[in-house]
Structure formats: structure tokens, C-alpha cells
Symmetry: C2
Subunit: 498 residues, 2 copies
């Protein structure tokens, strides 16, 4: 849809003053006034403008109109009149102009945050003009479904809440050492033997489709990660010979290390597996991992040692890692995919395609994350920042402020380098997180990252942010998201278990 002009006239004058002051994330430009207009749930309508390139039948917007009607008016949205030609209420309308349907989705979210309700129950919107666009194009949130399985519903609920704060990338860390819940059609044994429970703790092909479509309708891309060569213990249970046998002295110890990089069978497996993955996940990008490869097992294995010698790698196991990753990247490239990798791939000087995106996750080593961003962009690569945004890590009190204070561009480097930082991701790793505590740990804390990636770099005042984030948290409760409190106080509508 890019480039097409989309007009979305809403049946109300655009507006705000009370609630505009509470928008999250804060728009690039807001002009609000005290003038307010009542909004009648019975008469309110979303309409496509005659001149809009999008028209009824555009599933993304048709469904968004229904969602936002429910979010705006709750139970009263049920009393929805048949479509009528009466276009105006008091001749007042609210216009939403966007170049893409995705931008229109963001605008609908902003619009929904502008409508407020008086103590008497009347809905209002204030006269408002907003111009908006994101500071960074990649605003991601990572969920880890390996250390703990997350039910499909938890993922879908997270996508809803992501849309409320304008996240647009769901980074799905599907598998890891602990379990392999992704059901592969090419290798069903991966799940059968690698999941916690193949009857209950897996994502079927249908589940994956549902996640991708649910995300798409909310303007969210799904970036699937299949991390290798480390973090793969659970793969080994279903594919014999895939992992490196570790040795104790001259005998195999019975334990296994990273993917075995010296066998042709490994690459044959990866070819077939990533062919499937490339077609299951439609996004241009795949995340190929590449973090935290432990060399101890490779070092212990005599066959690996012989391979190193043959290849002339000496004792530099980083060269072996590079060999594996370069071969894998070539495989995935051949399928017409781009890739994201963790920073070690860059740190270890693997030769990667120039369009590779490097994700920074280490806070201090080998260098501070800001220095790392400088190095990556200096080398001409695009970068994503995650290091300061590990939401699974918790501490007592208002730790959202620490996430909020970060500026991804506060490293030394020229404007062409800054332009290569395409955004960042909040990460919720699963060591201590499952569906029992995911939601209150995510929200509203992830919101701090969402605003940092969306709003203008000048939007940094913590008091202004606190007031709006506290308001946004109450709005999350109203929408059924179990978001935890920021501080002492209450919301008019508290969370109710349903």
C-alpha cells in the first residue's frame, strides 16, 4: 500500500486536551484545545473516504474498525446501527490521513486514546490536530517460548497490547536448549522429542498461521528466530547426529554441545529445515541467532580438532563458528531471505551480507552497548538495540524509568551511522517467566521502550512520562490487560479477572 494516499474520515471532529495530554506513546506533534464534542456510540461510524485508495474489503482496516469500536465503547458498541448515508453528526468529522494502512492502524490507536468519558457516562473527544510518525521503523518485543511454553492465547494477547503502544515487530524466540515447541512438518521428531509435552506444549502449523495473521491485522511483523549453533540442546533429541558429541578425555562423555559444524549431514538438515521455515514465516527477515556459542565441547572432540587442522583454523574456534554461520547464511540467502543475528556474529568477524541486521544484547562486553552500536554502524551494518531493555530482569520500584532514559543514538558517530540504527527490541526471556507472570511483568514496563522507539528524541521528561504512562496503564486495565501499577494509587476501572 506504500505511497497510496489513504483517507479515513471519522464521524467526528478530530480533537483533544484532557486526554491528548495522556497519549502513549507521545506523537510527533499535537495541537489540542478545550473545545470538546460528544461522541454518540449509537451514531458513531468509521468510514473510508471516497478518495481513499483503501475501501471496504480492506481486511486490515475493516477488522481494525470493529476492534476499535469495541475498545472505544465496550458493551455499548453492540448497539451498532446499520450503515447509513448520514455522514455527519453536527456536521463534524474526524479525519485520519495516512500513506499506508499500517499508519492508519497507528492513527486509529491514537484516536482511541483521545476519546474519554465524563462521570455521567458521555463520551467526548476534544478538538485536536496530530501529526505523527515513528522515530525508528523497527519497534520489537521478544517472547521466549522455549524456557517456558506460552499458550497461544498469551501470544495473541501480547500482540493486542503491543498494538496499543505501537510496537510493530514480534520477535518470536521459538526454540532453545530447554524445549522445541515449533512443530516442523519436515522433522516432526523435533517437537515429538524436543517439546516439554508434544500433546500440550507445542505450536502447530495452524497455531503459527494464526499468530502471523493476528499480528498482520494489527500491523505487526513476526520475526521468527531459530538460534544456532548454540542454544540447540532440544534439537538434538529429535535429530540424531545434529549436535557435537562432547568428549571426556578420549571417550565421548554422553553429553552434547552446539550443532556439529563439521558434518555435511548438518548442512543438509539445515537446508531442509530452513526451506520450511522460510515458507512458513512470510516476513523477509529470519533471525538466525548465533549468540553464546560455547567452544568447550568442540575443543574436546577429536573429529572437530582434525577438521580444524584440515581447514587451517589453528586453535581459533571463532573461525569454526564463522565457517558454520557463513554456510548457514548462504543457505538462507538462497531462499531469498534477509537475516538478523545476535552481536557475536559481528564481534567474531563472520563475513555476512551487507544487508544483515545486527542485534546488540550485551550491556558491557566486549564493549558498552553504545560503543558496540558505533562499531556496527561504522562497519556499515544496520543495528537493533536490546541490551538495556531486558524486561525479564526485575528490580524493586519504578524500573521503567531506566528503560525510558536510554537513547539508542547517544553514541559517537556521524549522521549516516545514526541512520543505520533502525530501532530496538524489548526482550522478555523465559527463565523465570511463563503465562502466570508474563503480562504484569511486560506491562506497562514495555511501554517505556515503545515510547522511546516511537516518539521524538526530545520527549524525555520523566514526570510528563510518568503521568501519561500511569494513565496508559489504567487504559490497559480497561482493555483487559493485567498491567501492574507504577506507583501508589488506583484506576477508576481496576483489573477484573474474566
Amino acid at each position: 500500500m506504500a505511497g497510496a494516499e489513504l483517507w479515513l474520515p471519522l464521524l467526528l471532529a478530530a480533537a483533544c486536551a484532557g486526554p491528548a495530554a495522556a497519549l502513549w506513546p507521545w506523537p510527533q506533534s499535537v495541537r489540542a484545545s478545550d473545545g470538546r464534542y460528544p461522541v454518540s456510540p449509537r451514531r458513531f461510524q468509521f468510514r473510508y473516504h471516497d478518495r481513499s485508495a483503501a475501501q471496504p474489503g480492506c481486511s486490515v482496516l475493516d477488522e481494525a474498525f470493529q476492534r476499535y469500536r469495541r475498545l472505544l465503547f465496550g458493551a455499548e458498541s453492540g448497539r451498532r446501527p446499520a450503515r447509513t448515508d448520514t455522514l455527519t453528526v453536527n456536521n463534524e468529522q474526524c479525519f485520519l490521513l495516512s500513506e499506508t494502512v499500517w499508519g492508519a492502524l497507528r492513527g486509529l490507536e491514537t484516536f482511541s486514546q483521545l476519546v474519554w468519558r465524563s462521570p455521567e457516562g458521555t463520551f467526548f473527544i476534544n478538538k485536536t490536530e496530530i501529526e505523527d510518525f515513528p522515530r525508528f521503523p523497527h519497534r520489537g518485543l521478544l517472547l521466549d517460548t522455549s524456557r517456558h511454553y506460552l499458550p497461544l492465547q498469551s501470544i495473541l494477547d501480547t500482540l493486542d497490547a503491543m498494538a496499543y503502544s505501537k510496537f510493530n515487530v514480534f520477535h518470536w524466540h521459538l526454540v532453545d536448549d530447554s524445549s522445541f515447541p515449533y512443530e516442523s512438518s519436515a522433522f516432526p521428531e523435533l517437537t515429538r522429542k524436543g517439546s516439554y509435552n508434544p500433546a500440550t506444549h507445542i505450536y502447530t502449523a495452524q497455531d503459527v498461521k494464526e499468530v502471523i495473521e493476528y499480528a498482520r491485522l494489527r500491523g505487526i511483523r513476526v520475526l521468527a528466530e531459530f538460534d544456532t549453533p548454540g542454544h540447540t540442546l532440544s534439537w538434538g533429541r529429535g535429530v540424531s547426529g545434529l549436535l557435537t558429541p562432547c568428549y571426556s578425555g578420549s571417550q565421548p562423555s554422553g553429553t552434547f554441545g552446539p550443532v556439529n559444524p563439521i558434518l555435511n549431514s548438518t548442512y543438509e538438515f539445515m537446508k531442509t529445515f530452513f526451506l520450511e521455515v522460510s515458507s512458513v514465516f512470510p516476513d523477509f527477515y529470519l533471525h538466525l541467532g548465533g549468540d553464546e556459542v560455547d567452544f568447550a565441547c568442540w575443543k574436546s572432540n577429536p573429529d572437530v580438532q582434525a577438521f580444524m587442522k584440515k581447514k587451517g583454523f589453528g586453535n581459533d574456534f571463532k573461525q569454526l563458528e564463522s565457517f558454520y554461520i557463513q554456510t548457514l547464511l548462504d543457505i538462507v540467502s538462497a531462499y531469498g531471505k534477509g537475516y538478523v543475528v545476535w552481536q557475536e556474529v559481528f564481534d567474531n568477524k563472520v563475513k555476512v551480507r551487507p544487508d544483515t541486521i545486527i542485534q546488540v544484547w550485551r550491556e558491557e562486553a566486549p564493549v558498552s552497548y553504545l560503543k558496540e552500536l558505533a562499531l556496527i554502524t561504522e562497519a556499515g551494518f544496520r543495528a537493533l538495540l536490546s541490551a538495556p531493555w531486558y524486561l525479564n530482569r526485575i528490580s524493586y520500584g519504578p524500573d521503567w524509568e531506566d528503560f525510558y532514559k536510554v537513547d539508542p543514538l547517544s553514541f559517537e558517530g556521524g549522521p549516516e551511522q545514526k541512520a543505520l540504527v533502525i530501532g530496538g527490541e524489548a526482550c522478555m526471556w523465559g527463565e523465570y517467566v511463563d503465562s502466570t507472570n508474563l503480562v504484569p511483568r511486560l506491562w506497562p514496563r514495555a511501554g517505556a521502550v515503545a515510547e522511546r522507539l516511537w516518539s521524538n528524541k526530545e520527549v524525555t521528561d520523566p514526570d510528563f512520562a510518568f503521568k501519561r504512562l500511569a494513565h496508559f496503564r489504567c487504559e490497559l486495565l480497561r482493555r483487559g490487560v493485567q498491567a501492574q501499577p507504577l506507583s501508589v494509587g488506583y484506576c477508576e476501572q481496576e483489573f477484573e479477572q474474566t
Copy 2:
């Protein structure tokens, strides 16, 4: 019921081996074996023994039998046969012998943790003999309903989960600076003006009754706290003249400090208020607070200064605090109540009745909490420990181990001093906690405190504890408690939002 002998023969041989190894908290003595008996939900019955002092009509046990039948067999408990005279299954029975109904409740909980289910769905119990009693008589959990309001259902759910880990005191920190949700019949303005919202954020007389009865049926006492003279800002909104007007120079600043200790009207109010409270809460003990009194406002007030002079207190505001508290304690004593107070009352040398219980909450100041316990018991007072068990404080990872490691009796002192430590309390203060995050923050972390207060002092091995606590956490999920994970892994039955 104390002293009466209660026989509770269950229709099964007492038993265990698999599941006995997973009991939480760990009993004083367990003899288990591999011999197992099937348990048929259709034929299983709880029965009072003929020689038992308790018989049908004992509401505490009648209702507990129903609860535990549901917990044991879930949906299948519905197929409950009419009572029959057939007493035995294969002539096998399980006996529970207890001196009190409260002990019988604890035994039923232990019994429920012994029953397990095979992969085929058959219930089993292993042959087991258990002797059990608590190490400490006071095993409390504090909820704060002032910083954030907790819905009645959250409190009731917490009482259920408390019973699962054998807590027996619910310390209800009802009111504080932030809000006054307790609806007083004598002073309805307290709630009307002091609550967050008098329509939705209050506890009515009926709510309070329900909490007390729900707790009683689970063997839990309700220890109500009305903290004065500090922590009372919310009281001031409904009772003019109750709080001390603070001065800025020679003028009232418009702000208020602690309860005004120099006015007769203050004590008249307290007499009426605590007369009501003493009858609403049937427990012998009330908690009267007494912590963190800020002297700055008293110091600023010329009337208070004049009063100090008249009383000969000099500049020692601790004497003024003592004057207030002693007067209050006399009032409450006259109503036939005992009292618990925070440690400052002892630290500030207030003269209190010898049966006063002092609750230790400060970790390091004025002395370490262990030294404080030594000082309190040396002075002949009974003590409760809370300092190391502030569950609201969180950190990343398995922090339950820190709670678990504490031994309340590891201070220097003779056996007569140790005997004065009657237990402790886990505290969940509400600055950052409401119904959205209460449950995963409480469970299973509070379980670590529960076992420390119940089990023998020799039960300290962290690996043994980890395995059992992880199992207990899965059992909590099965029972519908949103308990967070301890580590990587899964439960057969994960949490499902209902």
C-alpha cells in the same frame, strides 16, 4: 476444641513415597513406602471417627471435607455418592489423629498433597506415616489494602493459598496514608472521604465479616491493623482535627502530620473507633502499628511545643510518641484486647503490657534484626519476625532462597528467649502491588517463609527444598493459583485463566 481428641478416619490406608517426597511444608516426621493404594473418587469418603469429639455438624471440618474432595478429584468429585455405612475399601483406611480441629485442617492439607495421579488417570496414595506439628505458632502473611485496594476476591483467594502452605494468621494492614477502605459504622466519613472511591474501593461490614469467616474455616486468624499515630493521612480527610497541623514558621502550612497527641478529642475518637474495631474483629489481638512516626510536623507546631513543655518532655519527641501510644494501649486494653506493635514502640521505650507482641521489620537499624530479636526477648516480650521477608521487594532470579535461608532463632540468647519468638510474617506491602501482580509475586515465594515457620529447624537443604517447592508450585497451578515459575521447565497442568 483444645485437648479434645479428634479422630478422622479416612477411607484409605495412610500412605506415600513419590508424593510424600514432595510435601510442602515438610512435616516433622515422615515414614513413607513404595506400597501404594488406588483411591477411587466414587468410593472415597471423609468420615468422623466414632470416638472423635468432633462429629458431623462441625462446620470447620464439614466444609473442609467438601473443599478437599474438590481439590483431590476436581471435576470428578461431583460424582459423590450418598453417605453409606460401608466404611472400608479393601479394609484399608487412612487415619488422621489431631488434638484440635485446626490441626485436623493441617492434616487434611498434608493428606491432599499425598494423593497423586498416574498417567492413566488413576489416583493413588502410598503407605505413609506422618507426625506433624508447627515449629512456630504464629505463621502470618500481611496484605496492604491501602496503597492499592485489593478486591475482596483477591483476599479470599489469598486465604485459600495460605491454607495450602499452612499459614495461620492473615495480618490485614487495612488503612494507611494513601486510602482508608475500611467502612466504619461509627465514622462513615472516614471511608466516604478517605477511600479511593467510596462506591467501589471499600470493604463493607459484610465484606469484613466474610473475610473473617472464610479465614476461620481455613484455620486462619485475622489480625487487623489500624496503624497510628503515623501513616494516618487518609484518616484526616474524614475526621477534622484528628491530625496535627504542620506549621511553616508561625503559620499553619496547610499540610498535616501524625495524629494530634495533645487533644482530648483525639482520645475520644480513638475510644469510639477502637470500641467498634474490637467488636468487629474477634481475634484477641489487634495490631496498633506505631511505626515510622515523623516528628518534623510535631516539632513545627507551637501548640505541641507548649504541650511538651507542660509535660516536661523537653525536646524528646519520643516521649510524646510514648504518651500517645500508652494512652492508646490503655484504651484498647480496657476492651479486653491484646496488641501487636511494630518494633519502634519497643525501640522508643514505650511502657507496654507484658503480653505485648513486638513485630521486627527493620533489617539493620537501629540494630540487625537478629540483635533486635535478642533485645526484645531479653526484655521478656514476645516477638514476631518480618524484616527479611518483605515479599513486595523483588529481584531477578530465585530470591525465594534468601527468604528460606533465614532462621529466626539464630540470635544469641538462652532457650527462654528463643521460646519468646512466636513466629513471623511474610509482608506484601502495596506500593507497587495490586490485584494485577499480587498472586505471582506472592506464590510460591511466600511458601519459603511458610516452610521456615512450620518445619523443623534442621530442614534447610536448598536442593531438597527446590524440588519440593517446584512441585508445590505446580500443585498451586492445578488448584488455580497463578503462581510464578521458580526456574526453567513446565508443569503438566499449566495455569489457565478461567
